[in-house]
Subunit: 465 residues, 2 copies
């Protein structure tokens, strides 16, 4: 039987959902957040960061009974709108099934909803403006600084959840306290990102297709844009810090920024009246992946969400993965009502680690795929075949993207293994001339399935090596 | 033109060799070590840790002009002596060529030789008993505590080399100072290790075959033994911390340890009269891999050796990789006499990183291969074919092990790619029934080469994805 008093550090998306679910299950929840209450703080227009919410995240919303409320905040995106330099834009659908799409959603809007729902419950207490200074991992107590009164306060519970994001203080304690062998990796890409914006038209409409995720792939760098409910788009530039003609280090004057966008993203540039202002006001942020293990200490503390596994944003799965953490933990609690927290945490981390690693690796793969969308001929052939299969046989064939994004019944690790084997099978068959874009699709599908199965079998043998 | 004053932190194997080579090239070298001078400290018998020195390391010794002196410390090991439970021991040779073998060498003996050689040069100054407390990465200065006088002292140079091993203080500064995006990973295996010993016979002879690396593979755990010049063997137990009937956590009484060895390693146990004493006196150490990047900061500081890339010991390449670092740096210095240190360090880390990552990954792979030496039938067939090829066609076929160990002209990364493709090719061909242990060897070789090339081609296509 788990003890009932819980302390959750971090009231971001993951921490708020966890608070809501634990409270719904009858635990006492104290939820403590460093920042001010985002429901009461002014968010400047164009800075509302949006995210992609898809099946895994929606499953969690359903579990918490708030799926309908969340859907009101969603803007469906049915595919990637690819803006190439030398041709008209075109939509590359995410799936051949109209029921499969992802959603653009405001981080702040969703977080506010989760906080509102949690706050309705009598067994949830939320404190804002409290910075966690230090965690006693074994005693399940933590020291905070009240940023309003400047007082230091200690809170104790039966267990602590570190839902304090990529820069987690709880994780830092695990690293520094050396109570156990703690594996940790923090890896940065050579690229950083900067948020920019496309405002609504004068009459409040959208300047670009509303129901799509827009991408301007340019080989080394890229720009993407996701729609907001107010008619604007949040635009993100992903760019190398060094190298090439332009990079984040040498784009250092408004003239250079303007020239770069005009030349490189001609279909976006006219829609970005505040480009240079946004560019120099908004920070440049790094793109990092954090992995660590174990996630729990002494059955008293557990890392969850980005604190346990921060990933790069290129699969649109960061939030979905964190929400899925809560679903998995929830299931383990249901299945083991008589077990103590140590058993719960151990079971959770053993079940979840491979999936968290998989989505981290997939997200990095996808970075390379997205920015070089116009790559070698063999990849174009592969895409052509996959698109045809997804259109004509959406139930018999699912691309890696669909397995990861729309198959919430399948763990990330399984989706990755199958998706990678499929990718490899198609490229291998194309390379050997055993399939081509002119062939009968049913034959192509059969060959792909057979080759995929062979690759999976061989991988299984090799992994025993 | 590089400035001439250098400070090397850490006088272990890598730091001492680096000091020797830089001094030979005319640089001013101050070499500072935390520990006492190992040439003057008593090393208790049975605790002399030995290492495997092979071609890459020997190439560095040759470069420093001390190959002959080093060879006097070496005990050639021509293969793995496999001690299975249910059959007589047998030698699995490292190569079909008698010229290809690895060497058991005393860490202390080799380190002392390197220090002696460095000390002979007028432009080398060595300080022992000085603990590095903090490094100013940009100013190239570092603070030390003189453990004899307890004084704090600051030393400054044109550049600092962090050769301070797996627990590097210089690397810690890079992590904590946050001057740049520093990627770092530290990953532990689920196993730890403990050093034990087999003493010489009464007349000073060897109790086991002298010219072999002995292995007792037992699936989950294993014991290995390497010969020392005095007739003893240094024995290492690699064992899981948790799980199984016996593990490092539950082997907590002399009776249990003795029973475990008697039962599990019957051919080693009679030769280990000090087993239980060794077991409880010697520490249990973790097995960790450290990767990081970049290795240099501002053209002023460079991590080298284990400080930049600590690996697990299962390929016998830790020391060899660190020595190869010095060879690579040496070559870059020779090729760029007019460049500044920033250029040298940048060039070095770009050239070296992939090879350091490769040997780290290979070492982990080999752990799984070594401890489960008796695995599935297909692996036994693979070994049989490889052994036959290496015996009959040693010049036309080189296993992954040989590519990594004896081909010092080939970078680790190339050796890994080719070796893995070869392994995969053989298993795939066996799996498809296209080769078997009865077939004509020339045909087998041709098929393996062809399949390997196809896999390499496909890997090249996939890596462009």
């Amino acid at each position: 039987m788990q003890e009932k008093s819980t302390l959750i550090i971090g009231a971001g998306l993951c921490g708020s959902l966890l608070a809501l679910r634990l409270a719904q299950k009858g635990y006492q929840v104290k939820l403590i957040e460093k920042r001010p209450d985002l429901r009461k703080t002014e968010i400047s227009a164009g800075r509302s960061i949006n995210l992609a919410l898809s099946n895994r995240g929606l499953k969690a919303m359903k579990l918490a009974g708030i799926e309908e409320k969340v859907k009101e905040l969603c803007i469906p995106m049915h595919g990637r709108m690819i803006h190439q330099k030398d041709r008209d834009e075109f939509l590359s659908p995410y799936s051949g099934l109209t029921s499969e799409y992802i959603n653009s959603i405001s981080r702040t809007g969703l977080n506010a909803l989760l906080l509102n729902e949690a706050e309705k419950l009598p067994n949830v207490e939320i404190l804002f403006n409290h910075t966690c200074l230090d965690v006693d991992l074994v005693a399940a107590s933590a020291m905070f600084k009240d940023e309003t009164s400047q007082e230091k306060k200690q809170f104790k519970a039966d267990v602590i959840f570190g839902a304090d994001g990529a820069g987690s203080v709880v994780r830092k304690s695990m690293w520094e306290d050396r109570l156990f062998l703690f594996s940790l990796s923090q890896n940065f890409l050579t690229h950083g990102y900067k948020e920019l914006s496309i405002p609504p038209t004068k009459d409040g409409g959208y300047r670009l297709e509303k129901n799509a995720l827009h991408i301007w792939p340019r080989g080394e760098n890229m720009v993407i844009a996701l729609p907001n409910l107010d008619g604007s788009f949040t635009v993100t530039l992903f760019m190398a810090y060094e190298g090439g003609e332009y990079n984040l280090n040498n784009l250092n004057t408004p003239e250079k920024v303007d020239a770069y966008f005009k030349e490189t993203y001609p279909s976006a540039h006219p829609h970005m009246p505040t480009l240079t202002q946004d560019f120099f006001e908004n920070p440049t942020s790094p793109l990092g992946t954090v992995k660590c293990y174990p996630w729990s200490c002494s059955g008293k503390t557990l890392l969850i969400g980005d604190a346990a596994h921060a990933i790069v944003p290129f699969y649109g799965q960061g939030m979905n993965a964190s929400f899925e953490d809560v679903v998995v933990l929830d299931k383990i609690l249901d299945e083991n009502p008589k077990s103590d927290w140590k058993f719960i945490f151990d079971t959770y981390q053993k079940e979840r680690k491979a999936d968290a690693d998989a989505i981290a690796d997939l997200a990095i793969d996808n970075f390379h795929e997205m920015k070089s969308h116009t790559a070698a001929k063999i990849f174009q052939q592969k895409r052509k075949i996959e698109t045809a299969l997804e259109q004509k046989h959406p139930k018999d064939y699912a691309s890696k993207y669909r397995l990861v994004t729309f198959r919430e019944d399948l763990g990330y690790n399984e989706a990755m293994k199958k998706g990678r084997a499929q990718d490899k099978a198609i490229l291998s068959l194309l390379n050997k001339g055993e399939i081509n874009t002119e062939m009968n699709l049913e034959d192509v599908l059969q060959k792909i399935n057979q080759e995929t199965q062979e690759i999976l079998n061989e991988d299984a043998i090799l992994s025993g090596m």
